[in-house]
């Protein structure tokens, strides 16, 4: 077994060091996924995520997947065969968005930029006359470049705006509601100071109404997940899957 007590000072484009209270929470006893204590913890966690996302969206929750799983959830719930997705590409994660959207059946319109430069809002907005979604990375993990997603949101027209906030959440100003972000996904392992493994996810009511019903993915179906986190269905909380109770305890802390 490797030396599991090795401590590293992490400043690279991977996970960051955790807050001590997070580490402590991970070591607490496991509780059941339907335990009232866990439900309270989940509700608290969703409320905390609304704060870091800058949103009032009912559908704000920690997906049981990493940031890349969050990316997949964003597309599988919004695009299906033939839907047009305009995607700004200025780094690795914009590239990945194109591949994920393509697998969901979308017709992808790429707007390429030199890596290391921010996205050109005007080019992205004029790339297609009527896309179903426009997608961009807020802060490209692969290059460290910040882009102006607020301007995309203010001028998106009828399209839904998908934003990757894996690297920015908790570290940079992020105002999903004010900026017009319809679907956002993030990671826990950077500015939130929690180990990787959950994806803070948020979806506006507007996006939910226009979601793909019965998406290809059961695991990441926000229509079903809404029933579990409770926000979508009032008191009618339904079992979906057994969530990572311990990781959620860490995120709550």
């Amino acid at each position: 077994m490797p030396n599991i007590l090795t401590s590293r000072f992490l400043l690279g484009p991977g996970p960051s060091n955790c807050y001590p209270e997070v580490t402590a929470a991970l070591a607490h006893p496991v509780i059941g996924h339907l335990d009232p204590l866990f439900i309270e913890r989940l509700d608290n966690t969703c409320e905390g995520l609304r704060t870091v996302w800058g949103t009032q969206n009912a559908r704000t929750l920690p997906l049981s997947a990493t940031g890349s799983g969050g990316m997949e959830a964003a597309f599988v719930n919004t695009v299906d065969d033939g839907d047009v997705a305009v995607i700004a590409v200025n780094g690795l994660f914009g590239e990945r968005m194109c591949e994920v959207a393509r697998r969901c059946g979308a017709t992808v319109v790429r707007v390429d930029h030199d890596w290391g430069t921010p996205i050109d809002v005007e080019r992205v907005l004029t790339a297609h006359p009527r896309p179903k979604v426009i997608a961009a990375v807020h802060a490209e993990t692969s290059t460290g470049v910040l882009s102006d997603v607020a301007s995309l949101g203010q001028n998106k027209g009828d399209a839904l705006l998908i934003v990757d906030a894996v690297t920015s959440i908790g570290g940079l100003e992020l105002l999903a509601d004010d900026w017009g972000i319809d679907v956002g996904y993030a990671g826990t392992q950077k500015c939130l100071g929690v180990p990787p493994g959950l994806s803070p996810f948020t979806m506006s009511g507007r996006a939910f109404e226009r979601r793909i019903e019965n998406p290809r993915s059961w695991y990441l179906d926000v229509g079903l997940l809404g029933g579990y986190v409770g926000a979508a269905s009032g008191s009618g909380r339904t079992y979906h899957h057994t969530p990572p109770v311990t990781m959620i305890a860490g995120l709550e802390a």
Copy 2:
């Protein structure tokens, strides 16, 4: 914040209590996902999973998802539009398999049983003359019933056998290679004594050769994941996504 030190004695059909060494490992410092120490940890973990699965499969790894995510990975990598999937249903998780397979595009042939009874191997094997996959739950979490998946494997013919071992892995005899299991998925939160959040997954070489290339899911694509866990590509380890390093530390412990 709820009382996070509450300890429960967990004997229900949800997560079980963790081993103390697992809990301790979760509290250790986070390391990078490309750190040689983590790679060694991942390799050790895959080797341990081969032991509990009873397999030599190179493609044996902890998926960054829960057991239900493992179920989705099993189907999305093996069935596409129009492929026939014979599914034994004798509880909630057999039901779920049907829904997941349907969303992957499969033509589902259900073989229904009364809940609380084991599956009838003969009926399952004769339900369709030439299915691409046959799927069954080893121990139904929802009822506690054990079924004879070894007999399914010995008589599966040309079909691929998918087995859900969420509740049985680490607690009951499980011999994937001897029994002819082609694709298996499990959970960490029951007999392995690790919190929920990872899915121990294994896939035979035979199943890998007949997998869906470019499946609808990028996140759960075993063709891509094989590059990361290293077994499939020799020394050419490639970055896929940032895995839950802390949860994997717990699983290794």
